[in-house]
Amino acid sequence: MDSDERALIERVQSGDTSAYDALVSHYLRKVVSIAWNIVRNAHDAEDLAQEAFVKAYQSIGRFRSGEPFGPWIYRIVTNLSLDLLKHRRRVRHEEISEQEQAPRRDEAHVAAISGEIAQRIDEALAELPEMQQVVARLNLIEQFEHREIAAMTGISEGTVRSHLSLARTKLKEKLADLYD
């Protein structure tokens, strides 16, 4: 962690809300992107990012001095996003399954995918089981390492590797025509 960030956190801990805005500004783009890659909906991703920063602020007093802020806020937003997925799953279960639910996509999602190859990758990722998809997106798109994904999602590093290995095999099959 750089000394600027440490100084900002100390100012926030002593009640300076403007110092928190500097932290938010530094991490917001990445936090929204993580949420979006998990929940796949721009509106929800924005709300989750907001919620994550408010939650982090409320417990900033317990934040250990010297620790980097990034992994902490990434873990909070990942947990909130996974909770939303769980909630959606529960709601889907409770709904009468006569009509097939449309995938939660939005216009921002379509706009975010530029190019045919990216679109094919996105479709292949979307067909993976939920946790494989989350781990694969965090690794391939957000470029997080196994250890970081394990810390963010609360699953073991071994399980992350296993999800990624399965995802890789399926993606290689589905995208064979692109990468042969």
Partner: protein
């Protein structure tokens, strides 16, 4: 294609899937966060209400205690400034 090469190319191509919120969206989220963290919490609101009330009650209690104490003092005769002199079996009171 080897696994490593496949992953390398996949990562390169998948980078295009990163979500880039519009600057206006980021500004809006930052404003909402600032608004929420600057808003006083329920505990702070209650404290703001109860602090002057508690100060008033404390002042009333101190005033009452002083009043009771001075009342007790005058009833015990400490306010009496006369002096009693006993001389040859007779007592004389001087000063009042």
């Amino acid at each position: 294609m080897t696994d490593d090469r496949f992953i390398e190319r996949l990562r390169n191509d998948a980078a295009a899937l990163r979500y880039e919120p519009a600057p206006a969206t980021l500004t809006r989220i930052r404003a909402r966060i600032q608004e929420r963290i600057s808003r006083p919490t329920v505990a702070q609101l209650l404290a703001a209400w109860f602090r002057p009330l508690a100060a008033t009650l404390a002042a009333v209690a101190v005033a009452a205690a002083i009043a009771v104490a001075s009342l007790d003092t005058s009833e015990n005769g400490f306010g009496d400034t006369s002096v009693e002199i006993v001389m040859a079996g007779d007592s004389y009171r001087v000063g009042e």
